[in-house]
Symmetry: C2
């Protein structure tokens, strides 16, 4: 193996993942878990519940990657054909495994549920594979070692998948040549465009190597991922050196290190100060509070919020004066400021963050076009506000708004202008 | 072509789409657009910003699909290598196109922005391809006709991608053999497990054909997609017949037809009655209101809501009596009912929907385990409540909670028990 850099791929199986409204999210979990072990995901695929399509993809992927993680299609219904497809791709037989049949019977018995007629089909295993028990559901997984490569086939439900991944797949990866591993650290940057970030850090590419830095941008948030080969003290030192050099270039735009996003940066800032936050949202309709409450432990610092979609609610619940609403219009700096102050005062919090804007597709005027958004942060030392006309459709404008307001909040929490 | 069923595939290019936090969403837009023209997406892939990986995937996909849509990697930076990869996959040269260079210059001039040094690299086109102007950004796309197959290469930003897709790609698909097209209709089912839905509709599979029905399930919502070959009156008639037969089997569990989700079902129900809604959320932290305000036109029927994360906010803003909070605990039917009534009364709405629960990972007790969620709907004719212990992690519990509460709401709006 030596300095051969190993690669991983994910294949999600399920016709529902090819339509217009559902995405495979298991690959995110797998990516995060593998990154922790220094193994990079280099390809992802999705195919429908079709033996030929699954077998084709499995055959193709195991020929090119060291680890292939397949998720979905292991249940008992006629749609679930992943087992057969894997057997076909590897040119192996399918065998009934009495021990696995026992697991499945026990699972239903423990839950006091009647076993569905087709449940025993889940005891069919690919010859030469290792069946993996499912502690959170009925469908077992399977693991196949192909020389020094591994194919893991896991159930589709995320809750079942992650348990099996951590228990049975990650230890195999962890046992691989440590020389191929990499450590990473992610710098979260708020309130700056990707191109600005790139311009500022470019001189460091030469010093540290272009391959060891990735820039990922997403509507008001830029992530700089720094990589170092190995996983020992030397790699830690190098990451520390990189972090210092990049942080210096980023200055106050650096929102934090290894955070999930700006909502977590805000939660961290509030926790550090021992202070509490309330939200007041119009066009984002609860997105900011939904993001904040996605952060485990948010309840220590987030008291709640008001989604003030109508003007009546802005008046009633946030005490925005009618004269301000009429005089400036609901989408205005004056109303954003009043909302932030209202949330802070009414919900008895130290900080209030507010957003009001026109997310579209309708509601724009010549003066106030679609995409115009005002946001404000009220705190112990006064109110700050900002606004911008964001490009993009409704969901993009909402995303930008959410991140812009959270960035203003985390700057104020850090005592920055 | 005749009854050859055409297929489409998507390839998203971008290393940021292989990490642990960002998913390609362009494929959803493409799927939806193609479904409208009766063309099914049968495969999706993601690869990083790597010439060899992109070229390999493009070559593979154009050999197997009638339409391949590639998104991303068309910008001016060194990372953007999709053009070169496509040229390599097709064995064609790259040429400088002076007309395209003109578009790019004009784009920057019109915005009053200085042209970045590397911008002219975007005027390099694949020989024999048709360059596609970008009306919402700088990077042009390209379209290659390969016999009766089409390869479309579009920019990654969704806002730019969708405009080019609709203007230059969909018309090509629409011109294909109408005999290969399919119409679809989606029945949205709430409050029932996928296995129950399958059991109830199974007798209809024989009558209409198993291939013309898909079942897609997602945490409290099941979608039944019905397909009919063709796009003329005969196909419409058949879809109508299928819809009637399946609707009869589903009864009151049918939440609506061709809706984006249960939030839209609720908005439709409210609009039909000319009534208005307020929300009160604890563990879902604003998810319900964020979903409702994702539906265009929600402002007509949704006045706003309160995210009551702390008990103080439940008392202050929703008038939940302290005695109820102390006596029953924040996660209880009594508190869910009081929250729903409080939201309705305080926000001057006709309906109030409330959720309180323990999303985890911590906060559970023996009596009230992680996953326990109570929800309630208050309306002109009283309050209804329900509860369940949902399996899964924090985000799964929140998703189930959101859908369960919206389903109770849409049932009450429809006058169902």
């Amino acid at each position: 193996m030596g300095d051969h850099r190993r690669s991983a791929a994910c294949l999600a199986v399920g016709s529902e993942l090819l339509g217009g409204d559902k995405l495979d999210r298991n690959s995110l979990t797998v990516s995060r878990a593998l990154a922790g072990l220094g193994l990079a995901m280099t390809e992802k695929r999705v195919v429908g519940d079709d033996v030929e399509a699954i077998a084709g993809a499995v055959g193709d992927l195991v020929a090119r990657h060291d680890l292939v993680v397949v998720t979905g299609g292991l249940g008992p219904t006629a749609d679930d054909v992943t087992r057969d497809a894997v057997a076909r791709a590897l040119g192996r037989a399918i065998e009934h495994d009495p021990a696995v049949a026992g697991w499945i019977r026990e699972r239903y018995a423990a839950q006091g549920r009647e076993m569905p007629v087709h449940a025993p089909s889940m005891a069919r295993v690919v010859a030469g594979s290792r069946p993996l028990p499912n502690l959170r559901g009925a469908a077992p997984g399977l693991l196949v070692e192909l020389g020094d490569r591994v194919l893991a086939v896991l159930p589709g439900p995320p809750w079942e998948m992650v348990e099996m991944l951590e228990r049975d797949v990650l230890p195999v990866v962890a046992s691989w040549d440590p020389g191929a591993r990499r450590l990473s650290r992610t710098l979260l940057v708020g309130g700056v465009f990707e191109s600005d970030v790139e311009q500022r850090v470019r001189p460091l590419y030469e010093r540290f190597g272009r391959d060891d830095v990735s820039i990922l941008a997403s509507y008001g948030v830029v992530r700089l991922v720094l990589w170092a080969a190995g996983d020992g003290p030397a790699a830690m030192d190098r990451l520390g050196e990189m972090e210092r050099a990049f942080s210096e270039r980023l200055g106050n735009d650096l929102a934090g290190v290894d955070l999930t996003g700006l909502a977590e940066a805000a939660v961290v800032g509030l926790r550090r100060r021992g202070e509490r936050l309330a939200t007041a949202e119009s066009c984002t309709g609860g997105l900011v509070s939904a993001r904040l409450t996605d952060v485990p432990g948010a309840s220590e610092v987030f008291v709640g919020g008001v989604v003030a979609y109508s003007n009546e609610v802005k008046e009633l619940e946030l005490e925005v004066p009618l004269a301000t609403l009429v005089g400036h219009g609901a989408v205005s700096e004056a109303v954003a400021r009043a909302m932030a102050e209202g949330a802070r005062r009414r919900l008895a919090a130290d900080w209030g963050v507010a957003i009001t804007g026109i997310a579209g597709p309708t509601g724009g005027t010549e003066d106030k076009p679609v995409g115009l958004v005002h946001w404000a942060v009220a705190g112990p030392d006064g109110v700050a506000a900002a606004h911008r006309v964001f490009p993009g459709d409704r969901s993009v404008v909402r995303e930008w708004s959410c991140n812009s307001a959270l960035d203003l909040l985390r700057r104020r929490l850090a005592g920055l202008g």
